[in-house]
């Protein structure tokens, strides 16, 4: 890790402060990034991690404080300047050009040319090579957007890392990755460290912090709490610092779902999907959710989990198949009718499909339950405020108030707003596509506990998560998918990571030797 004599920091930010109208996002924070050191940045949702990063990369200007880069004081006026200076960043959301090919994305902004034209051949070839090293085999001429989020995220990582960087900043790079890809990414981090690159690593996943990082800085409410070597930390202390609570109050920080998978309930199904079929997308998927049951969907990236969820919810047309809710068929099969019949879905892509950025927290929460929160076509603001208040408290949404615009919230808090939106519908079945993506440990535990609690109260849940652990521990039943087809269903005690991976591997013989993590 760190060598004998102390190295000069590659990048150092001192006394950084930033506030947005009404919110202090960051208050007097100082961080040094040393070459060859992986610096973890942790904190609750909204603690100011992304803001700190954006101050380092010229996206935001500092209200107060200074930034030194390679020994000189610098002011980066744009992301471009920082990038040209050698600071590469993978921002929290996947920020690439989805309509351009993978190869074009890889080289965007530093395109190789031949006779004035783009050297597409070279771009494709080299992209192939680069991605190959990350274990990704993809047609690099395909539009990036056609690939799953996970692949997109890997491309973003590869893109940033393949440039000649002095500093690499990763803001939740693994939020859409599955375990093996996380391994790959961490290997990349290790190599960058060897090359004396200074690395910032933001993640809500404690395992990763302990596996890959050297130093950890904790932020809370925009303030610096501590910076320590990871080796001097344990999970419990770290979490307690993040949450600002006593270490003894904190659980391990692992999944909070009480391990379920008990006996199969015999109650009548609350939701029953039969032979959902869509050409080239879904192949004869059936599933049953009983009251109080959590059905996990497992599979690799792009295996059709999200699409199954959408098909059940009526957000994606199917060629054939039926969905019954409490025994009643839903003929219209669109989101509105599903919601009316008691099915609610948390979409995977919060930014594109979830929040309405221009609206307030209150309005975002009230959105789906509007009919219940209005009278004769007129809004009932009082009723709205009551409900919103309940859920903001219950989910501990961190905001200036219910009238703050959702776009101003941190990612994790946006996710909670969406959850609140669903919960105030009082649904019978909840479809959750990556519900804990980008949520901090504390909140994650809360959300997981909430799910379990809801299930205990008789709600049926369909759960999708790229964290296998979450699916395994949190589900009563697991449906394993591959290429849009069901490989099998695991019940109760049968559910384990190995069992799932085996099912997948069995279906793809040539991948059998890929060991499950």
């Amino acid at each position: 890790m760190s060598s004998a004599q102390p190295k000069a920091p590659t990048l150092s930010i001192q006394g950084a402060s930033k506030h947005f109208a009404g919110v202090v996002a960051l208050d007097d924070v100082s961080v040094d990034l040393l070459p060859g050191e992986v610096h973890a940045l942790v904190g609750e949702n909204g603690a100011g991690k992304s803001t700190l990063i954006k101050l380092m990369t010229g996206v935001y200007s500092l209200d107060a404080g200074t930034l030194h880069y390679q020994g000189e004081q610098r002011v980066f006026k744009s992301a471009r300047e920082a990038q040209q200076a050698g600071i590469q960043t993978i921002y929290q959301e996947v920020f690439l050009a989805p309509q351009l090919s993978v190869a074009r994305n890889m080289f965007l902004g530093r395109e190789p040319k031949r006779f004035g034209s783009l050297d597409l051949r070279r771009m494709n070839r080299e992209t192939d090579e680069i991605l190959g090293r990350y274990g990704i085999v993809a047609d690099v001429r395909r539009p990036l957007g056609e690939l799953g989020l996970g692949v997109q995220q890997m491309v973003a990582v590869a893109r940033a890392v393949s440039q000649d960087a002095k500093v690499v900043i990763m803001d939740e790079p693994t939020s859409s990755l599955e375990p093996r890809e996380v391994d790959r990414l961490l290997a990349v981090v290790g190599l960058l460290r060897q090359q004396d690159v200074a690395i910032v690593y933001v993640s809500h996943k404690m395992d990763e912090i302990f596996r890959a990082c050297d130093v950890v800085t904790v932020l809370r409410d925009g303030k610096l709490v501590s910076t320590d070597p990871v080796s001097s930390m344990d999970r419990r202390t770290l979490v307690s610092r993040m949450l600002g609570r006593e270490a003894s109050d904190i659980e391990s920080g692992r999944t909070q779902l009480q391990v379920r998978g008990t006996a199969r309930s015999d109650a009548a199904p609350v939701l029953e999907a039969k032979s959902l079929q869509r050409k080239l997308v879904l192949d004869d998927i059936s599933l049953v959710v009983r009251p109080g049951e959590i059905v996990g969907l497992a599979g690799l990236l792009g295996s059709g989990r999200s699409e199954t969820a959408k098909a059940v919810f009526g957000a994606m047309p199917v060629d054939s198949g039926t969905v019954h809710v409490e025994g009643k068929p839903d003929a219209r099969r669109n989101p509105a009718s599903s919601i009316r019949s008691g099915v609610a879905m948390l979409p995977e892509d919060r930014k594109v499909e979830g929040i309405i950025p221009s609206m307030s927290i209150r309005d975002n929460i009230a959105l789906a339950a509007l009919p219940q929160l209005s009278r004769g076509g007129f809004l009932n603001r009082k009723k709205q405020d009551e409900i919103v208040d309940v859920f903001m408290k219950r989910l501990r949404i961190r905001a200036a108030g219910p009238h703050q615009k959702v776009r101003e919230l941190s990612g994790g808090n946006q996710q909670k707003v969406l959850l609140a939106r669903l919960l105030c519908l009082n649904p019978k079945v909840l479809i959750l596509d990556e519900p804990t993506r980008g949520i901090d440990v504390g909140a994650k535990a809360e959300v997981q506990a909430l799910i379990a609690d809801l299930a205990d109260k008789g709600l049926g849940v369909i759960l999708i998560s790229s964290e296998l652990e979450e699916v395994v521990e949190g589900s009563d039943t697991v449906l394993v998918l591959r290429d849009g087809a069901a490989l099998g269903t695991l019940f109760g005690d049968e559910i384990s990571e190995d069992a799932i991976m085996n099912l997948i591997a069995g279906a793809a013989a040539e991948q059998a030797e890929v060991a499950a993590p």
Binding site: A21, F95, E353, S358, D363, F378
Partner: protein, 331 residues
Amino acid sequence: MSTAVLQRIPRLDRKAVDGDFVRERGVYIALVLLILYNVFFTPFFNRFETVTTLMLQTPAVLIVSLGMLMVIGTGGIDLSVGATMAIAAAVMGKFVAPDPKGLGLPLALAIITALVAGLLVGIFNGIVVGVGGVQPIVATLSLLVGGRGIALVITSGALIELFVPGLTKLGRGQVSNIPYIFLIALALVVVVAVLVRQTTFGFRLLAIGGNVRAATLAGLPVRRTIITVYALSGLLAAIAGIIATARTRAADPSYLGLGLELSAITAVVVGGTALNGGRVRILGTVAGVILMQLLTTTLTAHNVPDSATQVAEALIIVGAVYIQRTSRSGE
């Protein structure tokens, strides 16, 4: 038009709090400045007649702008409003004009038919946009091109002069110096304000403008809402068409409302509403309409040549939007 979700915080944000005052009120400040200029430099400005004239000249644009405002709130745009005005005028003219040119039917019936015509045009737009999924600007462009043709077909191309007492009264009647048509416009402002701010319909409209996909997944009746919004825009355009006809005492299929779509869009935007949807400013729009009309009046009154008038208008548009820009660029 791209809705960037990650906020780009302009460097000015430190001054956000004090900057807000000007930003939020840019259009009102511009309006006050223009009025002050007139008070001091325009002969005969300081008479009540000036206000009356303004109250006669603004209602048509204002009413159209209200519809446009809602459409823009959904992230759409309605280029067909001018043509819709012409259609409504033509229908009314055809119905009410005496025999050789028209059918000689009662005025009330003619007005109702004209309103229905506007509503139908709007519903048609709404279906093309909401169900057909056609981009609003081209969906409504087809009626901008064809709608005026429909109006011309109805009147066989000619302008129909209307010497109908009721209509004349509508066009220039007043209650204690306030023209009827201005009162109508004001009433509609209130109606639209209530619709947008107090009803589920208004809520949905803004949600759709903010993020259609999210709105769909949240189970909102997206199509129905979009169709309603365009229908209202058509209806309001028809009202404007009737009012304009009452003012000119002629149903003019060729020129009535010509280019008005751009005036309406300008007023809405100058009033502080962004084109990307999800947010609307109603009072700002009213101020925007008055500002643009007063600007034209001022330049005309000072006998400024066309060339300078147009340049001045351009500068005012950019200036007004510039003042208010930061409140928008955060989106």
